[in-house]
Symmetry: C2
Subunit: 551 residues, 2 copies
């Protein structure tokens, strides 16, 4: 009876106090998150340090403390978990990016972004893989061809999270949309690449298979985007139809958060790119759904999504920092420090070359047939090259998956690859993170004017806010620079001529027409005013989430 | 090489698409959550159905579908997880309850709440345990004394989540604070009870040990509360000191959310009652921290906490519903359906008796030495008795922990206890859930007037908003009912006489004085206006989160 009683009690105690080890980890993590936020805030005035680097350094410091406290046995609170990263931390970051992105800039540079994300990633992957085969093949690390291809994938994965932290959407909107958009497309490329390699033998590669790869990519891109757009529109429709007249902020916010997460998970369910889907779902939600809810819900969703993204980002950097002192692998590597340093340096070099190999040629290609003020200048090309060099949690997750079994390895070659990945991630994040801000300021002191001159509506950064006619007139008046004397309104411009002169603006014009005629009446959006009776298509005073002033 | 390549690809594919089974579960869960919210909204007008019951029924429906689709093999998406419940779902619900609770009502009824929560739970536990020994002992279920005590604990645990859904804070504030407050204290009692039983042998129980149990409970209650208050004040202090002059909504919201969660986890870390801690942290945060942040942060935190709590509640009901068709246990039980029904009925009876055994005597005790309009009437006693009958996820978690090993059992007695617990939970939630709303309306048609007459500030429900002097005068004018002709302001009332006449009001008066003189200057709170220069102690127009009108 004594034993029975004890086991009851033990069981209930375990229940109410839960597994104590996980309680300790969670408590420490939350404490460190708070510390990172507070210290990051205190260091905000510094021109060098940003919040990512603060979190990374606090993570490394905690790792050292744990290492000392445990007598050199362990530096881990927990192993790096891919599930945690891909299922819980990445979706809010990418969704928020879509929700707050300046849609105009993103869509105007759509072709360039696609080129950078798809072709650029392939170029980078190829160069890093070939470089690894050529250099590491001679170093007797015990790696096989599969490992070299994995290295290519690991270091071709641009870290969108770092990019978001270092580049400012307001100061350098063109660079932001190019580098970040590239990061989003990058994921889709990687999925197609690896799904394709799985199905085909490398020795059988030919032009038919290459074509099929391209077809697969296009299918994946279109279906992922369509799913995101569909779920975004569904959320807008549901909220518009169901909640009209009797809004509940809690329900609206819950539906928006759940639908956003659902878009990511359902894309993963259908083996699509969750990152692409959740990104486009965010764009659609900010264009339609956000305008269908109450003012309180707008404030709440805007700040909640931003906060969740902010916390997830901080957590990732903390986590990578804590995992950097993975003593088990460093110990395996410790008898050959020169090899380890050499490998890290070579990898960094390959990353630099791999990125340069597509940024400069593709920029020149993209400048072809563009007006001078829309071209990507050489200084901007350097910034794009530099600010996309950072490797982060995606690289770590891929490296752990490839070179360890459930986080552990004793094989020397694999341990070297893990420690080198950690070195590259820490080095690129800290060094690129420290240098990018000053570099952007140095290369583009007039970045604000420059970005404004690249926008087609110079005087109206909030161009979506103006009614259709204004925007329409301005759009074509600004373009017809020689016809300023002609005061006649351009009512029916020749669509073919327009399409040839400036395709993206023409598409934008027809999209606006279609949006106003069919989409907004069905799905709400700007001008949809809940509660207030009256003309539902009249422009309201509410702003885009991305263009509202931050408090 | 072929194999290596395939394993790379497989690994990367696993990574980007994650474990597909968990993706399926999460997608289905999020979809069901959305469905529950939308259907719950559509059924809102119904006087019977509420959102909990909708979610529960959707959960049961999904369980049936999974059962049919899997050919009778399984009804589970995943096993009921205590960690998920206690670490992730319960904290937001209890924190939000503290954050939105009407503090005045809670503290005015503090003594009664403590009596109900501590002594009441013990009475209920004793009666259910003794009843189980007396009745089930004769039924040859193969249970031992430890199991009977566990049954007492399982069915003495009032489900605060159900209570929050069924009772309305605005309509029946007294009942809400009594029943909900009891639920919060209930947890602390259970922890002490089981920690104590673990350390002592039941055969050696005597008055010294009983005293020590009481001492343990008082220690646990005070330390848990103190920790919650400390962390709440810390958050207020940090935000007031650090963010003054340069607020960032995202950071403020992040700090508030993280500190709230930290309070729960750190209580669990020190083996205290996380529920008590996070509840008091919520109260302190709504009293101080919430007033130190920007208007946008106020709107965001208020709605975010409410939304998180709402989603967690809906999820729990969905989860319990899905788990109800635990086919493995029902199959074990299926050869003795009579026994199973009998056990469920006996348990329901014991729950009814166990609760009646403390609600009515303790209410009479609490009415002693109170003015007539402050007494708990017989109709109210019935409502308190009835609305605390619901058993929910806490009972399920305890039952799974006691009667299964990692969710599985083949022992007949254990399977019967699991299925009976499920029956009691479903029956009590659905039946009590359906009947409580009409019952409250039937027993207390004038509940609004009644609750108002019990409040000391009849005309000013937002009494905290009025400056000190007004509230002070009103407080004592309302009390001195015979001295209405005397127009002299009561400047220095005899504190001893006041304490004897009405202790809670006196404590309230001195607390207000202390709060204004020492606490608010240090920790902010109502009247602290960020950004706006000027007198920081002047009352602002901002309302309490709990007393703001819902949109």
């Amino acid at each position: 009876m004594g034993i029975d009683l004890r086991s009851v009690v033990e069981a209930v105690r375990n229940l109410t106090t839960s597994d104590h080890a996980s309680v300790v980890s969670i408590t420490l993590c939350v404490t460190l998150l708070c510390a990172s936020i507070v210290i990051g805030h205190l260091l905000e005035e510094s021109p060098w340090i940003n919040e990512s680097i603060t979190a990374l350094l606090i993570g490394v410091g905690t790792g050292v403390m744990i290492l000392l406290l445990s007598g050199g046995k362990s530096s881990h609170l927990f192993m790096f978990s891919e599930d945690l990263f891909f299922i819980y931390l990445l979706p809010p970051i990418i969704f928020n990016a879509g929700f707050q992105v300046k849609k105009k800039h993103f869509f105007r540079n759509f072709a360039t972004i696609m080129m950078f994300g798809a072709i650029g990633t392939l170029v980078s992957f190829t160069i890093i893989s070939l470089g690894a085969i050529a250099i590491f093949g001679k170093m007797d690390l015990g790696l096989v061809v599969g490992d070299y291809l994995a290295i290519g994938a690991i270091f071709a994965a641009t870290d969108s999270v770092c990019t978001l932290q270092v580049l400012s959407q307001d100061e350098t909107p063109l660079l932001y949309s190019l580098v970040f958009g590239e990061g989003v497309v990058n994921d889709a490329t990687a999925v197609v690449l690896f799904n394709a390699i799985q199905d085909f033998d490398l020795s059988r590669i030919n032009s038919a298979i290459a074509l099929q790869l391209i077809g697969d990519f296009i299918y994946l891109f279109i279906s992922s985007t369509a799913l995101g757009v569909f779920l975004g529109l569904l959320s807008a429709y549901v909220i518009k139809k169901l909640y009209f007249g009797r809004h509940s902020t809690d329900r609206e916010v819950a539906i928006m958060m759940l639908m956003a997460y659902l878009s990511y998970m359902s894309a993963e369910l259908f083996y699509l790119s969750g990152i692409l889907t959740v990104f486009f779902c965010g764009i659609v939600m900010s264009h339609y759904t956000w305008h269908n809810v109450t003012q309180n819900s707008r404030v709440t969703t805007k700040h909640t999504f931003a906060t969740m993204s902010f916390v997830a980002e901080t957590f990732i950097f903390l986590y990578v920092g804590m995992d950097a002192l993975d003593i088990e692998k460093w110990r395996v590597v410790s008898d050959s420090p020169k090899t380890s340093i050499k490998v890290s340096a070579i990898l960094l070099g390959l990353v630099l070359v791999g990125r340069a190999a597509f940024v400069f040629p593709l920029s020149i290609l993209s400048n072809f047939n563009k007006s001078p003020h829309e071209k990507i200048g050489f200084k901007q090309q350097i910034t794009i090259w530099w600010s996309g060099l950072m490797r982060g949690a995606v690289s770590m997750a891929l490296a752990y998956n490839q070179f360890t079994k459930a986080g552990h390895t004793q094989v020397r070659g694999n341990a070297i690859m893990i420690t080198s990945t950690i070195t590259v991630v820490l080095f690129s994040t800290v060094v690129c993170g420290l240098i990018t801000k000053p570099l952007v300021r140095f290369l583009m002191p007039s970045s604000k004017e420059l970005s404004r001159s690249m926008s087609s509506e110079p005087g109206t950064p909030k161009s979506f806010a103006v009614p259709l006619l204004d925007s329409h007139c301005e759009l074509f008046n600004g373009q017809a620079s020689g016809a300023h004397g002609d005061q006649q309104p351009v009512v029916h411009p020749s669509s073919l001529r327009m399409l040839l002169t400036n395709p993206s603006r023409t598409i934008h014009y027809y999209w606006r027409k279609f949006d106003d005629a069919y989409m907004r009446p069905a799905f709400g959006g700007r001008g949809f005013v809940p509660y207030v009776p009256g003309s539902p298509t009249e422009p309201s005073v509410h702003e885009w989430p991305a263009e509202e002033a931050k408090d």
